[in-house]
Structures are given as structure tokens and as C-alpha cells.
Symmetry: C2
């Protein structure tokens, strides 16, 4: 498989991106290749400075850069020779199998909307993140920030996407999907979660186990996948990250707290779109980039598009929404 | 001041309640007294078994109990001689200055609505909790669970209440009030927080410092009071509690993680009502009860009703809402 990487979008571009790509090579599966999008001369310079052979990569030379200050949608249209736009074009044309970028999230989403687009039937793509279970496994939380205002059917579709991703990428045979809520009973919650619980409790598309409270999240006793709206998910994600930082600062060094480190996965897959896309932090370190590439490889292997299409083939959108 | 305690509502009643009341006596301010509501014989038995003199307390004998399985509103009306109903009656009549109960939260709220009632002008009372700042101070988060669905004006009023409580009970002279959100910029968030930000940015009633993300919460660099809806607040509160439990389980023993322990305060003040009411966990230990009584004493000292009325005297409700 061919894994595309935008080397120009991050805060330390292209250095950290190229260093991450160099570091990941020995860990990739047989047959996996990396395609770097960016300024060829700068990419070669980073390789040269670090004793790496640039011939290990396919390089697609681009002349423009979309940075954090660019207006997402405008930048994508007005910088057609940016590394990001070139990456999405290659992804859309099937020349790469997945695309990762530590860049402007809004521009990455614009890139998706202008090129590969959401899977037909998916109302709103979402982003997910892995969280650690205290026994060492990973759970999946989604949406962690794309859709701050959700309807019950968005949460329902997040549950489908999360369940399929946990099967394909986290090797969960029959993932237990729970709804993040403020009480266990079906009657608890806000208007959104009450309606979503009602919809989910009648599903045939995933293994719904009911509501989960945030204090049960990390025990893993109840769920493998936790669904929420992007506002709540983003609050939870950033709070978990802050506990990692506090623990580190206080010299606490346990597997669980270390697994809260964002760099462990390096990026969040965008789910519900027609090709694997992974978005990382702008400030990504080489380690984060390395892990983002591994996450991309895993996400490509999850064959999400086929899995989602299989579900949607069996059911009309109306079935899935009601 | 007279501090009322419902000794019958908790999971281990009245033992833990009475033990907590015995333990707190040496720490109370001069002039503070405890009034225990519950079965007098059982209360005296706990005192006797633990070598404490029951004469240190005023005891109001009651014959009924509202437990966790009771329907909140019905229980309050149908069990007029319950310890909880008697406590609220005493509070409403001014015979005690504040009332604390580790009981059925819904019934406690019903008690408020039937007796002391919300302060005129307050659309929705809310509950708050203290969270630790890494330098050892406390911040205040509200609402942590009473109103799962909020309008911008509810968040605005939470901000007023939180600011006044931080002044009165946490000794913050000019508390910095922030809105919990998923981005720093005014344009970030969901429909609710965007509208609330707009309303708050024009306030004269509190020191609004803008949005805060959850990863900045525990640093204390930006805010002393953080405002959110009860759904998000409850998720944050329970997640923080779970980090306390995980850290304890992993043998991590730092001030910060210990301060995440619910028992540190023992209960959450209900803000926006006509007298101090503190709600604790049903499973409260004697230590939690002891601290809940101290929190009640502090809340009585905060003179919230006067402070809120002062603000509402100066402004019509329309001013405050717009």
C-alpha cells in the first residue's frame, strides 16, 4: 500500500515530517511505501542532513504550502499546487491508499469535501481517537471534535463507524458500543442522548450496550467504543491529554498515563469518508509523525469504505436513521 | 450558625453521617452547631458506640426515610416526617442556616422547589464543584449535573452564581470566569457556547475572560471559575474522579491527584436557591460527611442569597439576560 504524507503543513515542516517518515520505515508492513508531498529540495535536505537515503521515498514535488493561518476552504482552492491539495488529488485518483497530514484541520476537511467526499449515506464524517484502558488495551472515542452540534442520527452513524473501525483496525470481533452519558439508565441524559439512546437501542448495525458514564470509560469493563458529539468528545480528549501532561510533570511514569499521550497514535482518522485520511497536530514531533503513519497504515488495512458500503447496501438510509 | 444534616438518606445511614458529624466538631468555627435530622434512637446509638456525647448535637427526631429508590417529587410530599422533609422545613423556617444531605439528589431538588425555592430571577439553580489547580488552589466548575440541556442565559446565570460563590467561599477577590469550550476563539464551539460567549462578552456582572479548553482547566492560568452546561460538567467531574481512582490504584500519591477525590469537599452546593443546600453522594464515608459539613459552613458564610439579590436589585432580569 502507498501511504501519502503532507510534509509541509506542520509547525516544524518539513523537518519533523521527514524525520518521522525516516523513523517509521523499519516498522512498516512488507509492501508499504511512503509518498512524501512537499518541496523536494527541502525534503532531500532533511534526508541528507540525517544520513537517510531519499530514494526510500517517492517524492511528489509541490511549490505551495497551506499553513495554520490559511482560511480552510479558500486555501484549498487557491493553492492547487500545495502539498495538501496534491495529496488529496493523488488520494482521489487512487495513486495513494491513504493520506496523513499534521496540518490545518479545516483545510484537511475542505480537501475531503472537494475530492474524496463523504461516503454516500453518511450525514457527517467524524474524527475518532484511541484512549487507553487500564489493562493496556485501547478503546475508541468518537466524535472528538468535528461536529460540535449533533443530531441523534449523527451519533447513530458515529456508532456504526466506530464499531466498524474497532473491528477493522483494533481487532475487536464484536465491539461493545456505548453512548457517553450522565447516567446509566435510558431515561438519563440531555435531549440529544435520550433520543440517540432510543434509536441505538433498536439497532441491528452494532452491538449497543447502553449508556456509559465518563468514570467507567478507562476501566474497559463496559465498552470498546464510546460515542458522543464532537463538543463533548473534544472536551474529554483534551482533558485526558492534560492528565498525561500533569502526570509527566509530576514524574508519574505508568503505562496508563503514558498511553494518554497524543503522540502514541499521532493522528485521528476521519471516519465516514471515501478514503483513509488522518489528521495530526500542527506541532507534531517526529515520533508523532511516525505513529501517525502507522495509524494511517492500520486505517488503510481496516477497509472502512467497503465495510460502510456493505452496511449501507443492506439498509436504506431511512432504515439506518430510524 | 446552625448546620442541618440529614442523617438517614445515605447508603450507610445513619452511621456514616453521625460519625462524620462527630469528627467535624473540633474543626467547626466558634458558634457553629450541628442539627441532626433522623431517628433519634439510632443517632444516639451511633454516638454511644463511638464514645461520643450525643448532647453535642441538636437532634430533630423523624420517623420516615427517603432513600435512593424513592421517586423524588412523590417521596418528598408523601413522607412529610422524613429526615429530609423535616430538614427542609427547618431551613425554610430559618431554624437552621444551611442543610446538607447525602441523599437522593432528585428528592433534594424537590425539597428545594417545595420549600426554599430558587432566588427570584434565577431561571435554573445549578450545582458546582471545586477542582484542584496544580499549584494547590481550587477552581470552581458549574453546572456539574443539574441542567443537562441549557440555554445561553442559563450559562450566563451560572457565571454570575459561580463568580459570587468564588468571592464568598473561595476568597477570590475578582474571580476570572471562563466558558468551557473547544477552542479559544469566540467563533469556536457549539451553538450554545457561541451564543453564551456573545452574551458573556458584554457582561458587567462578572470578570469574563473568554473561552477555556479542558486542557487548560487544571493549570489555573486562565480562570478561577469555569462555566458549562450540566451534561458537559457532569462528564468532566466524573472523569476527574476516575483519574483520582486510577492514580490511587496505581499507587500515585501526589497532592494534585489526591485533591481530585470527591471526599475532599464531600458535597456540591446548590447555587441560585434561597438558602444553602449541599448534596453529597449516597455512598459518602464519614470523611466525606465531615467535609460536606465544612463545605456547608463555608457556603453559609458565602451569603450567596444576599449577593445574588444585590446583583438582581441593580439589574432587571432582562438586563441580565441580554
Amino acid at each position: 500500500m502507498k501511504i501519502g504524507l503532507d510534509t509541509m503543513g506542520g509547525d516544524f515542516a518539513p523537518k519533523n515530517e521527514v524525520l518521522g517518515a525516516i523513523a517509521v520505515l523499519p516498522e512498516l508492513q512488507k509492501g508499504s511505501e511512503i509518498v512524501l508531498f512537499g518541496d523536494e529540495e527541502q525534503i532531500r535536505a532533511v534526508c541528507r542532513d540525517n544520513g537517510a537515503d531519499a530514494a526510500q521515498f517517492q517524492i511528489v514535488h509541490t511549490t505551495e504550502v497551506i499553513d495554520m493561518n490559511d482560511h480552510p476552504a479558500k486555501a484549498f482552492l487557491h493553492k492547487p499546487d500545495s502539498s495538501m491539495a496534491a495529496g488529496f488529488k493523488a488520494l482521489s485518483a487512487g495513486m495513494i491508499d491513504g493520506f496523513a497530514g499534521p496540518g490545518n484541520t479545516g483545510a484537511m476537511m475542505a480537501g475531503i469535501m472537494y475530492t474524496i467526499k463523504p461516503i454516500t449515506g453518511i450525514l457527517r464524517p467524524c474524527i475518532s481517537c484511541c484512549y487507553p484502558i487500564i489493562d493496556g488495551k485501547w478503546g475508541l472515542l468518537l466524535d472528538v471534535g468535528l461536529n460540535a452540534d449533533c443530531k441523534p442520527e449523527n451519533l447513530y452513524q458515529n456508532a456504526i463507524l466506530g464499531s466498524l473501525y474497532a473491528k477493522g483496525a483494533l481487532n475487536e470481533e464484536n465491539p461493545r458500543v456505548a453512548l457517553l452519558n450522565i447516567g446509566e439508565e435510558a431515561s438519563k441524559g440531555n435531549l440529544l442522548t435520550k433520543a440517540a439512546h432510543d434509536m441505538m437501542s433498536r439497532t441491528k448495525h452494532f452491538n449497543f450496550v447502553g449508556n456509559i458514564e465518563s468514570n467507567e470509560m478507562f476501566t474497559g469493563k463496559k465498552a470498546d467504543v464510546i460515542v458522543c458529539d464532537g463538543f463533548v468528545g473534544n472536551i474529554v480528549l483534551k482533558m485526558a491529554e492534560s492528565f498525561y501532561r500533569i502526570a509527566t510533570r509530576q514524574g508519574l511514569n505508568t503505562d496508563f498515563f503514558n498511553m494518554l499521550d497524543y503522540e502514541y497514535h499521532g493522528g485521528t482518522p476521519v471516519l465516514g469518508v471515501n478514503a483513509p485520511v488522518i489528521i495530526g497536530h500542527g506541532r507534531s514531533s517526529p515520533k508523532a509523525i511516525k505513529n501517525m503513519i502507522l495509524t494511517t497504515e492500520k486505517t488503510i488495512g481496516a477497509k472502512m469504505v467497503d465495510r460502510v458500503n456493505n452496511i449501507f447496501k443492506e439498509a436504506t438510509l431511512r432504515d439506518i436513521e430510524s
